[in-house]
Structure formats: C-alpha cells, structure tokens
C-alpha cells in the first residue's frame, strides 16, 4: 500500500511538471484576438461618430471615419508577422485599413494596407518587417452610416 501511495505521489508530481511545460509551450504559440470594440476614433473631434457593438465597431456619421485599434501581439521573433482583419460591408461599401509597426523607441518600421468591399471579409495581411518589441496598430477607415463593421484583428504567432 505504501509503495502504491508513493508511486501515485510521484506520478502526480510528474503530471504537474509535465502540464506546466505543456502550458508554457501552448502560451508561446497562441494567436491573440483583439475585439473591434476596443478601437477608438482616430481623430479627436470624431468621438461621437463612432459606435460600439458587441460584435465590433462602426461609424454612424454620414461621412467615412477612421478608427485606430491597438493590436495586441506576442513579441514574436520572426522578421515579419501576419494578421487577420475581420469585418463586414454593406453592398457598395468598402473598408480601407492599414497595419503599422513602430519600434520600442517610436520609430516607424513598416505598414501594409488593403481595401475590402466584400460583405464578410477575413483579410490576411503581413507586415513587411517587424521587430521583437515592436508595437502594432490598425487604422481602418469605415464606411458611413453604419454600413460597415470592423469585428477585430487577430495577431498570428510566427
């Protein structure tokens, strides 16, 4: 009985250590989703033009308006990093976005832009160059009158 209890104890310790290692590995390889409702008006005077939803952010003014989103990311070691930007457009509308990276001292590094006019987009974009400690933002110009919604952005691990 004693040996069984001892063996059980050792197995539990091994399981604890093993699961800790697995968790560490999983954390290092997970993408990060940022919800569109965390985005803000890009220009100070347009705060009231931006409306927030449980599924994203939209522009309720009669003209196009830009919003800026913080893009959370792991400090990945690759030379580039890819992202998915998700949203919707009503018929005839388009959303134009730019992902931009700045380094830890505020120096511009690179950006990538795209325009989407399809109803449900899931756009894949890669920054040309990015550093381990860089910060990334997403600026999207949203169509007027709530005719487009930015759902969010996903930073992929690389």
């Amino acid at each position: 009985m004693k040996s069984i209890a001892l063996l059980a104890g050792l197995l539990i310790v091994a399981a604890i250590l093993g699961s800790a290692a697995v968790d560490a590995g999983a954390a290092a390889s997970q993408n990060i989703n940022t919800h569109g409702a965390t985005c803000k008006n890009y220009n100070a005077a347009q705060a009231l033009d931006i409306d927030y939803l449980s599924y994203g952010v939209r522009n309720v003014s009669t003209g196009s308006r830009p919003v800026i989103c913080s893009v959370e990311r792991h400090p990945v070691t690759g030379a580039t990093q890819a992202f998915y930007v998700d949203g919707t457009n009503s018929a005839g509308q388009a959303t134009v976005c730019t992902l931009t990276s700045y380094n830890y001292s505020g120096v511009y590094q690179s950006s990538v832009s795209f325009s989407e006019s399809i109803a449900n987009y899931d756009h894949y974009a890669t920054l040309p160059t990015i550093g381990y400690y860089d910060y990334v933002s997403l600026v999207c110009t949203l169509p007027p009158s709530g005719l487009g919604t930015l759902r969010g952005v996903v930073a992929l691990d690389s």
Partner: protein, 222 residues
C-alpha cells in the same frame, strides 16, 4: 535561471505535499479497509495495538520523507545560484541583444529595398501615372503636403522624402497616406534621416503587393 529554480523549488514543495497527502490517504484507506470493530467480534485487545504500530511507522516514514525533501531543497539552494544583480544583468543583455538584432534587421531590410530601388529602371508607362497619384494623395493630407520634399517612382516602387518636425503630425498622417495606395502599393517601409541635430525626416518606400505565399500556405487562425 531564476525562474527554473523557483519552478524546481515549487515542484519539490508540491511533491512533498502530494507525497504526504498520498501516504495519509493511503493509511486511511488501509484503516477503512479493515472490518469495523463496532458490532463485530474481533480481538479487541490486539486491534488498538496494531493501529498504534501503523501510526508510529507512518509518522517515521513522513519524517524520513520530510528530511529527504529538505535535503533536496538544500541541494538546490547550495547550487551556483546567480545573485539578483547577475540575474538582472542576464535579462538586460538578452533585451539589448534582441533590440540590437531588431535594429540590424530593419537596417538590412531598408538597405535591401534601397538597393532594389536603385536597380530599377524608370518605366515610362508606369512611373508618371503613379507619381501623379502619389502627389495627389500628398496634396490631400495637410501634414504630408507641407512635409514632402520629393517623390520618385521608377518601375514597381516609389521613394518619398518627407521632413519630420518631431511634433507627431507626420506619424499621424502616415496610415491615412498609406491607405491611398492600398490597391497598387500596399506595402510601405521607412527609414529615419538624421543629421547632427537628430532626426530630421524620413525616406518612405512604397512597394507592390507581397509575393509571398498566401494564408493557406503560411498561417492559420487555428
């Protein structure tokens, strides 16, 4: 290093706790597997004596285990552990290396773009039209209109020189400027221009779409 030691100590502490619990539970199971003395004819004189012996043996085992765990803990503590200053220095060196590596990588990337741009021969069917479009975009953004010093488009990319007064206005205008070329020149990279007084401006390169494989070959959300 510090983290791994903490992990090891935690594991030892957790292990000792688990072992003690397992032994206690095991002994309880042993006790409960025995027939109850209530209402059962047993050797009443012998049963308490056996339980007392088991308890004594168990206490001895727990004490031995505790001593072993304490010994292991001492071994870990006596190892060549770095001082707090040394551990902090390791982290700083690692951060500095990463930052330096990032700076080198960015410089090499920009140097490659510059070299590629220098090799491009002006395409008369593309350059004038795209130059006109770039200037039109610049004129549409106040901060860019005042800051731009030159635009040169060759065969597939454009080089734009801009002044930066350090107010943040240029950075504010860059994403909206880049959006004007989302279809034809979606990628942009920049390099700071400096003189003796510090940063004075930027050289921006507007480039065509990335030729790398699409998302189905390179990455997944899942």
């Amino acid at each position: 290093m510090k983290n791994s030691r903490l992990l090891l100590c935690s594991a030892l502490a957790a292990g000792s706790l688990v072992l003690v619990c397992a032994l206690v539970l095991g002994s309880r199971n042993q006790d409960s597997s025995r027939p109850s003395t209530t209402g059962v004819s047993v050797d009443r004189a012998g049963a308490p004596a056996a339980a007392s012996t088991d308890m004594t043996r168990m206490r001895t085992q727990v004490a031995v285990l505790q001593a072993q765990v304490a010994g292991l803990r001492d071994q870990v503590a006596a190892g060549p552990a770095p001082t707090a200053d040394q551990a902090a220095a390791e982290v700083v060196v690692s951060d500095a290396d990463r930052r330096a590596e990032g700076d080198r990588r960015q410089a090499a990337y920009i140097a490659g773009i510059e070299a590629a741009f220098a090799r491009e021969v002006v395409d008369p069917g593309w350059s004038p039209a795209i130059s006109k479009r770039v200037w039109a975009a610049i004129d549409g953004i106040d901060v860019m209109r005042g800051a731009t010093r030159g635009v040169e488009c060759r065969a597939t990319s454009c080089r734009v020189e801009v002044q930066d007064d350090g107010s943040g206005a240029l950075s504010k205008g860059l994403p909206l400027f880049a959006q004007q070329f989302a279809d034809a020149l979606p990628r942009m990279a920049g390099q700071v221009v400096r003189d003796e007084s510090g940063p004075t401006g930027m050289v921006l390169y507007l480039m065509g779409p990335d030729q790398a494989p699409g998302p189905t070959q390179t990455a997944s959300k899942n």
